[in-house]
Structures are given as structure tokens and as C-alpha cells.
Amino acid sequence: MDHLAVLLVVIPLSGAFFVPVFGRQGGRGYRIALGTVLLTTGCAAALLIITARGQAISYLVGDWPPPWGVELRVDAFSAFLSFFFSLIYVAVIAFSARDVPHDLNPAALRWYWSLMLLLLAGLLGVASAADLFNLFVFTEIYSLAACGIISVRDRMDSLEAALKYLLLSAVAAGCILLGISLIYMVTGHLNYAYLATALPDVAAGYPRTVLAAVALLATGYGMKSALFPLHIWLPDAHSSALSPASAVLSGLAVKAGIIALFRLFASVLSASPAVVRAMPAFLGVLAVGGMIFGALFAMTQTDLKRMLAYSTVVQIGYIYLAFSVLNPVALTGAILHIVNHALLKGMLFLSAGLIIHRTGKRRIADLHGIARQMPLTMIAFTIGAMGMVGIPLTNGFVSKWYMVLGTLEAGQPLAAVVILLSSLLSALYYFPLVIAGWFGSPPAPGQARPEGPPSMLWPVLGMGAACLILGVIPGPVISVLGEAARVLLGR
Amino acid sequence: MIGWFGVGSLVFLLTCAIIVARTRDLLAATIVFAAYSLVMAMTWQQLRAPDVAITEAALGAGVTTLLFLLAIARTRRTEDESA
């Protein structure tokens, strides 16, 4: 059964390799992609069942024990994220089947499926890595694939956004690699567990080197996850991609950097007291910046997808802020918010994609009265907006509730105030849109357009249902996550 | 110690890097970059990493240069875009 830990990554990789070999005709690429993603979801579900009771799988690739070989570690944290990530992928791949083909030429379409699967493999690889260099390699896989699915859309703004993203993520990769080599220089280990044992002594002997390495790693992963001043690539990249690609990028890909930092911090860096003092505080300050400025930028946007992209900057801020107080309750909220935001933002981008697919409109001002034409889409969009703001009975409320509770418990009421304030700001840019969509008068009442095709609607509505379910009965998920958070913080 | 040869190649590398950064002619920069990569490969050979050196000579000096040449052939040769 332990083999599932490696199969989780190998299945999407194999699917990606199959597409150019077997998927050269028509709809085959789609079928390969969907089959692969379903298999991966099954695999992740089995892993979640195994690890939910707090027991972690440690897989030794090639049967070489650490510190010599590469170790994979799947615990409740990574299994939970893997399961939801692949579940969201099912919806996005199903949505793509109708949305993407008419935007792409056949060769680009083939690679679109392949790159989507590579992105998933990279994300799952990051979630299960227990070795610094292995983490770096999978970070590169997902970053390149993320740029790739932006640039498959052959437009000038997509190409430019992809290039900007690629160059900045190369800078980030350089910082990460330099950080890894500094850590290796003073410890001689790459495996998390061995680093954790070696680090307390080393941090006493080489305090500045360790701090510099941590600063470089935090910069690198902060850039990859669009932490506030390093978020400049995100709005272009996420608004110019195809809608399903935006859903995956905004919902899942930016989270990989957060996951990597959480894991690194929890299993390695917490061994050094200086790092524990410096890093979370630093991240917390930047997170607050992201929550305030991201919201202000979001308010001024006129383009729907750009506004959603800035909203991602805000939500990333929540997750980092909740992480920075180092409290198990807040961390439970943060992990839950990773998944909740993935569901909500994925759904918002997909419903924006449906609106663009049917009407061709993407300016916020043009969306008045859109609910009369596409009520089901608008219901999904409304659930997403309510979740983003944190209205009770949606999943966004649950995670924000835990984050606020945790920050209060950690004795940081200021952080709680910032979370509430930023939610209020979210309401200011989401609700006018929703109200105009439901009650505004459509510009040309004569031309009624039907809803999108069912094959595009059900993924969106399914995600909406998932959001409501997680919002109404969060109990089982919270109990799994509480365990995961305690394991992460080592308490 | 790394010896005078080592120090000399480090100085050469830094000079090449600055030239690549400064010159406005992209083709010239590519050629200097190829020389830079070859000297880098030699430095790594001196640092007793022959596998890395042979890979850098093939990938860094060879393929990267070819990629740059092709890209320049299909775009433009100079950095100045007064036209």
C-alpha cells in the first residue's frame, strides 16, 4: 500500500508522457487526461484514508534509506491537500473539454492536456517531498508547466505574462537553489529529518549562514506563491490565461510555495530558535501588506478576471498571516483556507470562463443583469463571492473563523482585526458585482442567451456544492486538519 | 590553493559576465557567453567535477549558444531599437 505515495506522482506524470504518444488524435488527449486525473484522485483518497488517523507514510525511493536516498513523506497534511487538489482537477479538466478546444490549434491543445497533468504532478510532488533538492526539482516542474499553460493561448498578453512569470520564477528558483546550497554547505544533509537534527548545532555555529539561507528560501517561495511585494507577476499571468488554466493557477499553483514553506518550516527550520523568531514575523508583516493593498487594487479593476487575480493576492495574505502566529488552531484555519480558496477561486474563474464563453464579456461594467441569461452560473458565482467574503454557511466562513480564533488564542488581536477588515474590503469589491449581476438591468433585453452546455455547468455547480457542504458540515475535515496542524507544529 | 590558473579563470569569468551584460550587440554577447561557458567548464574540471564540466561544455556552451543563435536569427541582432 505504501507504493501509493509514489504512484500519486507517477500516475499524472505517466499520463502527461502518454498524451504526445497516444493522444495525437482528436479527443484522445482529453480522455487520457480525465482518466489520469480520476486515477490520481482515487490514489489520493486511499492515501487520505490511510493517513487520516495521524499516521504518516515514509516512502524510500529506490529502497535507499535517508540520508542517502530520496524520501517521500505523505502525512495527513499532504494527503488532504493532494486529495482536494486532484478533485478540483477533475472538475477543471471536465470543464476544459468544451471550453478550450476552440481557442487552441491541435498541437497546442495536445500539449495543453500534457502540461495540465505535469502541473498536477509537480504540485503533488511538492506536497510529498521530504528532501530539499527533490522539493526544488518538483518546484521547477510545476513552475514551468504553469508558465506553459498560460502561453498555450497564443495571444500577445498571454505570451508576455508567461514570459514575465517565467523570468521571475527563474529568479525565485535561483534564490531557492542558493538557499539550499548554503544549508547543505553547513549541514551536509538534504533530507528534512536529518536537517532537523543537524540544524540546532549548526545554527549555533553558523547563525548568519542559516538565516541567510532561510531568507533566500522564503524569498524564493514567497515569489512563487505571490507574497505581497513579490506578487507583481500574478495579475497579468492569471488574468490572461484560459479560464480553466486560471482556475488551476490561482487555486492550486500559487499554493505550492506555501505548502513548501509550511513543510520546510515545520519539519526543518523550527529547530533553530532564531529562525522561528524571525521568519514568521517577517512573513506576517508582508501578508498584512498583501491583504490591504491587494484589496485596494482589486477594487479599482475593471476586468473581471483581473479582479479575481488581485483577490488571490489578498487570500494568500490570509494564509501567511494565519501561519505566522504559529498556533495550531490558526494553522488548521490556514490549511483549510488553502483548500477553500482553491475551491472558491477555481469556481469563480470557471464561472467567469462560462460567462466569457457564452457572452464574450469580461468587463465588470458589462455584467449587469447577467443572472437573467445565466442564472445557474450566477448562483455559483454568488456562492464563490460569499465564500470569499466569509458569510456563514459557506466554507470561507469556517476557515476564517478558525484563523480569527487562532490569532486571538495566540494573543495577537491585531492580526484578527486585519483579517476582519480585509473581509470587509472583500465585500466591497465582490458584492457590487453580485448585486449588479442579479438586479441590474441588462443592456439589451431582447437577446436572451441560454446557459452554457451541461458539460461545463456541472463541474462549476459541483464545486459550489462542495463549498456549501464544507461550510455546513466542516466537522470531519476539521478533525483531520487539527491532527495535521498538530503534526506540522510538532505539538 | 586554487593556483594562479584558477584565479585567472575566475577573473576571466567575471570579465566575460560584465561584457555580456554591457555589450549592445546580442550576437557578440552570445559568442562571449559561449567562451564564458567553456571557461566555466574548465574551472569545474579544475575543481574535480568532470561530469559537471562535460555536461556544461555540451549543454551550456553548445546547446544554449545554439538556442541563442537561433533566437537572434529569428528576431534582431542589436539591442537598440531606434527604428
Partner: protein, 122 residues
């Protein structure tokens, strides 16, 4: 504070300086191809740094002669060589992809200058 010891670490210093030169080129130059060159210099700087970490005076390259290692001699760190190899391949992949994006952008816009691209878009 920063001491003179830095000069006993000449190889590290060179690697870091190449990293910084590359980073500066990447961030300040407007030309896209030049940015990619800066990226390559930055990455080779890191690799030089890593290879230098693996080196130790008076050691051999980690390839054993027939009949096993010679007694009393040591070898350079093979793990760093392996990681640098991986890094080189990743760097080349990134370069290739970046250059194909640049060629395509040039086909569509006729410029390699980021400022002009910015103007064209708005």
C-alpha cells in the same frame, strides 16, 4: 561584520558575484534576450558556488579506478556534482522555453523591448 576572510573564499565570492551580475542584468535590462542571458549567468554563478562547496584541496574526482579507491586519498563531494548536473539541465530547459516565447512575441509585436511591449499592450 564582514571580515577579510571573504578573500580566502575567492571561489565562493566569484560565484556570488556572477549571481549578482546576472540578477542585475535580468532585472534592469529592457531587452528580453539580454534578460535570458542574465538568467544564464545567474544560474552558472550558483553552479560555480555549488561546485566550489564540493571541492576540497588535494582530492580526486569521484571516479574510481579499476580495483577500488586508492588508499589514503579522498574525493570531491559527488552529491553536489549530481545536484549541479540536474540544475544545469533545468537551466537549459528554462532558457529554451523562454527563447521560444521571445521568438513568438517578436513575431507578433516586432520588438524585444519590455517597455515597448508594455506600451503596445495598453
Amino acid at each position: 561584520m564582514i571580515s577579510l576572510d571573504l578573500f580566502l573564499r575567492l571561489n565562493y565570492l566569484a560565484g556570488i558575484m556572477l549571481f549578482l551580475i546576472g540578477l542585475h542584468t535580468m532585472l534592469t535590462h529592457a531587452n528580453l534576450i539580454k534578460k535570458v542571458m542574465g538568467m544564464n549567468i545567474m544560474e552558472t554563478g550558483i553552479f560555480l558556488f555549488m561546485v566550489s562547496i564540493g571541492y576540497a584541496h588535494g582530492t580526486l574526482s569521484p571516479i574510481m579506478r579499476r580495483g577500488g579507491p586508492v588508499q589514503g586519498l579522498t574525493y570531491t563531494n559527488p552529491l553536489l556534482a549530481a545536484t549541479v548536473l540536474t540544475g544545469i539541465v533545468i537551466a537549459v530547459s528554462t532558457t529554451a522555453y523562454a527563447l521560444s516565447l521571445i521568438v513568438k512575441l517578436y513575431e507578433q509585436c516586432g520588438t524585444l523591448d519590455v517597455d515597448r511591449l508594455e506600451k503596445l499592450r495598453s
